[in-house]
């Protein structure tokens, strides 16, 4: 179980997150919703360890992650699919996938077979440079790259941003499959409400630096959407 406890964060003097507490259920898809600039990406970065909270804690199972660097968190089973995908542009597809393998204590070359079963398009592209892929292909590569490290909890930041509908559909199917069949826990920042309602289980809604609502995605009311999401 991933827990964010009373977490606050500031960029210099500008406070972005104020006393955020979230208890993320295991084996579910939990969505984080909120308008642009409300601090969703900043929150995921704090959870991954790429930013450090001013105060507060991040716990995973029995581990207190708060003082660990990102690579240690990765070794404990936390993975990230960042906003904008951030594929290594000059590495080939297969090299992008191998980074997590090479980082292991016993480096290995073997990319798990099921990665290509989940994302067949990557197989045909394996020697193309990451930077030459289309947005949809890059998004699939970003998810595959995080999965190679074999995470228990996967953080995804706007995986549908700028992706064509059929690829969104495919990504949704894969994510749901990973959660239902393998017990992966997913925390997903997402603005695309139909997608949230289709594949998400629970949601946290953020507004003005704080969590303002939480519940089942099926209970996400028009009133909440109107007050905290429409611009």
């Amino acid at each position: 179980m991933l827990t964010i406890q009373n977490l606050s964060f500031s960029y210099g003097v500008i406070q972005v997150l104020d006393d955020i507490t979230m208890v993320v259920p295991t084996g579910r898809i939990t969505c984080i919703l909120g308008r642009n600039g409300v601090g969703k990406t900043t929150l995921l970065m704090n959870v991954m360890g790429l930013l450090r909270p001013t105060i507060g804690a991040v716990l995973m199972g029995e581990h207190d992650l708060t003082d660990l660097a990102a690579d240690r968190r990765s070794a404990l089973g936390l993975g990230l699919v960042p906003q904008g995908r951030r594929i290594f542009p000059r590495l080939t597809v297969i090299e992008n996938l191998r980074v997590a393998l090479a980082a292991r204590r016993q480096p290995t070359d073997r990319i798990p077979d099921d990665i290509y079963d989940l994302f067949p398009v990557l197989k045909t592209m394996s020697h193309r440079r990451g930077g030459d892929l289309s947005g949809g292909q890059q998004q699939q590569l970003a998810i595959a790259r995080a999965l190679v490290a074999d995470p228990q909890v996967l953080l995804l930041d706007e995986p549908t941003e700028g992706i064509q509908p059929n690829v969104i559909q495919h990504i949704g199917t894969v994510l749901r499959h990973l959660v239902d069949e393998r017990g992966l826990t997913i925390v997903m920042v997402e603005q695309y409400l139909d997608f949230v309602k289709e594949i998400g289980d629970r949601f946290f809604l953020m507004d003005r630096r704080r969590v303002v609502a939480e519940g089942l995605t099926s209970d996400l009311s028009a009133d909440l959407v109107h007050r905290h999401l429409t611009v």
Binding site: M48, G49, L50, A69, A70, D71, R73, S74, A75, G79, L80, P82, R86, F88, P89, R90, L91, E95, R98, V99, A100, A102, A103, R104, P107, R145, A146, A149
Partner: protein, 371 residues
């Protein structure tokens, strides 16, 4: 990016100061031959290898030349340029990898070279003191790897103790590496005094008589060969090994690499050690044709910074081409331009170039992009 511009500016100023302060050493370093102001090929070849001149001068005599003088001179210049460039390439490789990964401009790079040179010196003295005379010829086989390891080890130590704490603060890092360079120079001066030298192994003395009138000194041939081998090794390490993959990933996107489990702190330390180790390797070669002194690194590092700037950061091929190019240029231009002014002219050109395209030469990558 203003910070890259500031770094570039500081670098050029430091380079200019060093260049003005020690013009004669700069010259000797890049061009020990033409310095003597002679145009006769045979004499040039002889003087090139001052400590090992005996056989060379005997072998080369203008009267037996098979080619016209101008052709011999061109060949000789090309060869000299190539060998001068080789040292620069070795230095530039390390500088470039370190900057590409960490955004650190290592002003102490030349001093790591000096550390390598003195390591070779210590090995030579130890062989003389503790081993039978017959063993002396093999000291260099021990000295080469040891120079790499010692300079690399000192590099890892400096990274761990000092530089690691200053990432993301380019100006402080720049000053810190400058401080390290002063510290290393003073330490070397305390231990070894001002100027020393060692006798190269006999198998690196003398020359290879290609055709009558053209003798290529063995030490310089060795230098070129070693440089080629080092470039190949660096290429394989970076492109073909797991470590190289992690290095490239961290260079491209440090936070994402660490989120994928890459221990970026380790990568930084090892890479810094590897880069400074390459400088140490270059340092072990210098005493084959030149004397040692604690300041020796400064004269080379200016040129190798130029190679990095011209060749492009983190670009292996760029460093090789620019290093060889600068070597050639120096050799061919020196007859026309007085060397000091030639160097200053090149520096001025680089300053202009940096004003025109600072970001093209110092891409916004590595540590500096993190925060």
């Amino acid at each position: 990016m203003t910070c890259a511009r500031a770094i570039a500016g500081a670098l050029v100023i430091v380079a200019a100061c060093v260049c003005l302060e020690r013009p004669s050493r700069t010259l000797q370093a890049a061009a020990p031959m033409e310095m003597r102001g002679t145009t006769t090929v045979a004499v040039v070849a002889a003087l090139d290898v001052a400590p090992a001149a005996g056989e060379t001068s005997a072998a080369a005599s203008p009267s037996s030349a098979a080619l016209p003088d101008w052709a011999l001179e061109t060949l000789q210049n090309t060869f000299a340029g190539l060998s001068a460039g080789s040292i620069l390439v070795l230095l530039a490789l390390g500088l470039s990898i370190i900057f590409g990964l960490m955004g650190v401009i290592n002003l102490a790079h030349g001093e790591f070279m000096m550390v390598g040179a003195y390591t070779a010196y210590v090995v030579s003295e130890s062989f003389k003191a503790y081993l039978p005379p017959g063993a002396f010829d093999y000291f260099y086989l021990v000295a080469l790897p040891l120079s790499f390891l010692v300079a690399g080890g000192v590099g890892v130590l400096c990274e761990y103790l000092v530089i690691r704490h200053l990432y993301g603060r380019p100006i402080e890092t720049l000053l810190a590496t400058w401080g390290i360079s002063l510290l290393l120079i003073q330490t070397a001066r305390l231990i070894f005094g001002d100027t020393t030298s060692f006798t190269p192994p006999s198998w690196l003395q003398g020359g290879w008589r290609v055709i009558p009138g053209l003798v290529l000194p063995l030490n310089r041939l060795f230098l070129i060969g070693l440089c080629v081998a080092a470039v190949a090794a660096v290429y394989l390490l970076v492109q073909r090994t797991p470590f190289g993959l992690l290095l490239r990933a961290t260079t491209e996107d440090r936070p994402i690499a660490s989120a994928l489990g890459v221990p970026t702190r380790w990568i930084d330390g090892l890479t810094f050690g590897f880069g400074t180790g390459l400088a140490g390797l270059a340092g072990a070669i210098v005493p084959l044709y030149d004397k040692l002194n604690p300041n020796m690194g400064q004269s080379y590092v200016v040129d190798s910074f130029m190679v990095v700037v011209v060749g492009g950061i983190g670009k292996l091929a760029g460093a090789v081409v620019a290093g060889a190019g600068l070597g050639f240029l120096t050799k061919y231009l020196e007859p026309w331009l007085q060397a000091v002014y030639g160097k200053l002219a090149v520096l001025a050109l680089i300053i202009v170039f940096l004003q025109w395209r600072p970001s093209g030469l110092f891409p916004d990558r590595g540590r500096s992009a993190e925060s």
